[in-house]
């Protein structure tokens, strides 16, 4: 009997600490759904209670039903059959059925399409638990952003057709974007879509590395305007799996073996245009990607949590030199670093999800809700919220994806260090965690691309705004208690360092210099955002006080070192590239 919610103190603390009631108010649009749907919450307390119950129920499914099948799923993988169909591992098939029965496959969808209308924050928490059980299952459970995108942009007919089937778990989806020559650069997509003589939209081309490409609903990015070669020539086609869509190949991957990665061939495959022409990449896929990035952050978080737990347990029970290895400072350092790393990834991922809920919630109230119930002041406030959090999210979403995915690599790697030879063997989950972790730093935008996205917000001052806002007042108290106030002063000292670093980079007036030091700037920003979050938690939680102290002790010297590097003016990486990197290897 394992429950991945009730056994996780940190997750439960954040559920208590974060302002879920505020998010519930935004999601439930003044709790107006209660009259139409008898299960919808009547007030904020009711909604928050629902979230907690759903988390506990999902925790049980993850712990009892999914985790025990993960090793087998990893071993068996997916099989491409001669007829082009894909046979999934038994554990994944069973899990999809269970998640359908649990009514969680339309987690964030509106009630009227069979959804739960839950916030992105709670969805992230479930993604974390599912990934802790089996990271590869998250590639199916965590693809609900496809339904979310259809909900946001498609016509009512398309929504009515697809969404209830997706919410019930009967249909799963795939976001069909990548091509052999269009990876990070999606503007280069070559797959064509056009209307045939009957006005039917059809798709032609090849897509590669498509997660769950064998799913029932495909959201395809394709070129509708052949004369426009960049992103403005792309549209989104939504289609139900049909005989004109052929899975040609399944990739043989390092990790996430339960997730089928497909190469798909579209041979005049019929579909429907979603939304408007030419907005495929610039509006729809960008929106889809932002949600997906939070999803991957949560996936990475689950992997890190799983890997850390194995190490913590092993170090406690494994005896060498007549003592448990947890008693050696070197092992303690590994464990403490890992524990803080996981907590930090959780803090930034949940905070980013929270801000996404506030942005999209405000937008929804303004655009979809009953306008007559809003006063002029309320409207003004909603507009301000939507603008403010949109800016925050441009920073926090890539930060969360970058931090959590890199954390999952560090932590699964360190976990293997704790387990030593045993960790290298298949007897423990750590080798699987390490293999599964690697992809999280790559897909939905590599870490390097997340840094490019985040650095803009660090340089523009958004990052400082986020931190200043948090330092202004703790969530649950009116002022900082004395013992935390001293930590807050350290964060302010760090902010001064950030200011200096940003000013120096700006003064160089060089995109190359900015790009070269982007990661270091983002790291400083991240360490300080996290420090301010930990200070906030520390006001109500003794353990977090120790975490905040340790975090600052560890990161402030790093921040100073990063600043020194940024202020060095050194551009040898770019200037002396040929010499330092050496010649391109010649292959016979």
């Amino acid at each position: 009997m394992a429950n991945f919610y009730t056994d996780n103190d940190d997750m439960q603390f954040l559920v208590q600490h974060m302002d879920l009631a505020r998010v519930a108010g935004v999601m439930e649009e003044g709790f107006r759904f209660h009259k139409e749907f008898d299960f919808a919450p009547a007030d904020a307390a009711d909604a928050v209670d629902n979230y907690q119950r759903i988390l506990a129920s999902m925790g049980q499914v993850a712990g009892d039903d999914i985790a025990p099948t993960a090793a087998d799923t990893d071993e068996v993988g997916n099989t491409l059959n001669a007829d082009g169909s894909v046979t999934r591992p038994a554990g994944i098939d069973r899990a999809i059925k269970l998640l359908g029965q649990a009514q969680v496959m339309g987690f964030t969808l509106p009630y009227r399409y069979g959804g739960l209308n839950c916030p992105a924050l709670v969805y992230s928490m479930t993604n974390e638990m599912i990934s802790r059980a089996d990271a590869s299952l998250m590639n199916i459970y965590g693809l609900q952003g496809i339904a979310e995108t259809i909900n946001a942009f498609a016509s009512e007919d398309i929504k009515q057709y697809y969404l209830p089937r997706m919410a019930s778990g009967e249909w799963t989806g795939a976001m069909v974007l990548t091509e052999p020559d269009a990876g990070s650069d999606l503007q280069a997509v070559k797959t064509r879509c056009f209307q045939d003589e009957n006005g039917q939209w059809v798709v032609n081309g090849v897509k590669r590395f498509i997660t769950n490409g064998c799913g029932e609903v495909l959201l395809v990015l394709a070129r509708s305007e052949p004369e426009i070669s960049d992103g403005r020539g792309l549209s989104c086609i939504v289609m139900e799996r049909n005989p004109k869509v052929k899975v040609r190949r399944l990739e043989n991957k390092l990790g996430i073996h339960g997730s089928p990665t497909c190469e798909i061939f579209f041979d005049n495959a019929p579909g429907q245009l979603m939304g408007e022409r030419q907005r495929g990449l610039i509006t729809y896929v960008m929106s889809l990607m932002n949600g997906a990035r939070i999803g991957i952050a949560a996936q990475a978080l689950g992997i890190g949590e799983a890997a850390y737990r194995v190490a913590r347990d092993y170090a406690h029970s494994r005896k060498q030199f007549d003592t448990a290895i947890e008693n050696f400072p070197a092992v303690r350092e590994l464990l403490v670093d890992m524990s803080l790393d996981v907590q930090a990834a959780r803090a930034i991922t949940y905070h980013a999800s929270f801000c996404v809920d506030l942005e999209l919630g405000a937008l929804k109230r303004l655009e979809l809700g009953d306008q007559s119930t809003l006063t002029a002041d309320e409207k003004k406030q909603l507009r301000a919220d939507s603008r403010k959090y949109k800016g925050y999210n441009k920073l926090l979403t890539p930060m969360a994806k970058y931090y959590a995915s890199e954390m999952s690599m560090r932590v699964s790697n360190q976990s293997m260090a704790v387990l030593g030879g045993s960790g290298y063997m298949k007897d423990y989950s750590v080798e699987r965690n390490l293999r599964d972790a690697r992809i999280t730093t790559i897909y939905e935008g590599t870490s390097q691309l997340q840094v490019v996205a985040a650095v803009a917000g660090v340089i523009s001052g958004t990052c400082k705004d986020v931190i200043e806002e948090m330092l202004a007042k703790p969530t649950k108290l009116d002022a900082w208690p004395a013992d935390v106030a001293s930590l807050v002063e350290h964060v302010r000292y760090g902010l001064g360092i950030l200011d200096e670093a940003v000013a120096f980079v700006k003064a160089q007036n060089s995109n190359v210099y900015r790009d070269l030091y982007a990661r270091k700037l983002v790291d400083i920003g991240l360490y300080l955002v996290l420090a301010s979050l930990f200070c906030d938690y520390a006001t109500v939680n003794e353990k977090k006080k120790a975490v905040a102290r340790r975090w600052l002790a560890d990161k402030l010297p790093l921040i100073a070192a990063l600043k020194a590097q940024i202020l060095s003016g050194d551009k040898s990486i770019v200037d002396d590239f040929e010499t330092l990197a050496g010649p391109v290897p010649v292959t016979e």
């Binding site: 009997m1 008898d38 299960f39 209670d49 629902n50 759903i54 129920s57 029965q101 649990a102």
Partner: protein
């Protein structure tokens, strides 16, 4: 063709988390010291019933006997898909052993006129596995114990696979039947999110009375719950016309004589000769040690 399925469930102390305070001085279970959970095999009985309903139609009614706090297992049954939940609660039912419990359950189940009654194989607190079989006997239903699979349910016929320890037995019986279900039979479905959101508000009359002391206000609250399908039916011994002589302490011949902490220790083994006399000696010693008999 639908089947009227009744599932008997029990709220039990979580014996996996047993501590030194688990037993009271009088030898009965100290329920306060242990978290109360859904008896694990009853969850499999519920799943078996829900699967039959999903395939053939009909209804699943869950019945439990206990204190009003046992409504937790009824709500959980509703979260997982049960159509109706009934609490049998009555002070006069306190201290019932399996004989009295099965009698009380039989009075309630008769009112529901089921085609199939499902019980878990046994409960993890008493570990008797007696209630299901005794219930079948009192209902006059055919009993099929240790069920691992129900392969067929049709007009007046059920076919089930029983685990008989060292093998399986496939049996057919006419309806109505009472089956006891093993944990190897199925994997219970998860709680459904929308059902959680709705039925978390389900309450029995007794729970409402505890929360609202004013009788008229409590009555009104019950009416409101009933209107929303959220009132858990509460039956007393009078409601099910139970003979009080068969209920509670009066109806319970089981008396706990003594509780011992048994520490198993290995000892010398003794060989008995392979003869009638040897076997007689072995049986005699087993009887004298109360291993058998």
């Amino acid at each position: 063709m639908g089947f009227n399925c009744v599932v008997c469930v029990k709220q039990v102390p979580d014996t996996k988390r047993i501590t030194a305070n688990a037993m009271k001085d009088d030898g009965t279970v100290n329920r306060a010291a242990l978290p109360a959970i859904f008896n694990p095999e009853d969850m499999h009985a519920l799943e078996e019933a829900l699967a039959i309903r999903d395939q053939h139609g009909g209804t699943v009614t869950v019945v439990t006997m206990g204190l009003p706090t046992a409504c937790d297992v009824l709500r959980e049954s509703l979260f997982r898909g049960a159509d109706r939940a009934i609490l049998i609660t009555d002070r006069r039912a306190a201290a019932s052993d399996t004989l009295a419990t099965s009698y009380i359950l039989s009075c309630a189940v008769k009112k529901l006129n089921p085609d199939i009654v499902f019980c878990g194989r046994q409960a993890i607190d008493g570990d008797t596995a007696q209630t299901g079989p005794q219930l079948a006997q009192k209902l006059g239903f055919t009993l099929i114990t240790y069920v691992e699979n129900i392969s067929e349910v049709g007009l007046n016929r059920i076919v089930a696979k029983r685990n008989v320890g060292n093998g399986w037995e496939v049996v057919a019986a006419a309806l109505p039947v009472c089956v006891t279900v093993m944990d190897t039979a199925n994997s219970p479905r998860p709680q459904a999110a929308k059902r959680i959101m709705k039925f978390k508000k389900a309450r029995s009359k007794a729970e409402v009375a505890k929360a609202i002391t004013d009788a008229a206000a409590a009555e009104a609250a019950c009416g409101e719950l009933a209107g929303k399908g959220l009132l858990i039916d509460t039956w007393t011994l009078d409601d099910i016309a139970a003979d009080l002589a068969w209920c509670g302490r009066n109806g319970s011949p089981t008396k706990v004589h003594k509780i011992q902490s048994v520490v198993l220790t290995g000892g010398e083994y003794k060989e008995y000769p392979n003869s009638d006399a040897g076997v007689a000696e072995l049986v005699g010693s087993l009887i004298s040690e109360h291993t058998i008999g």
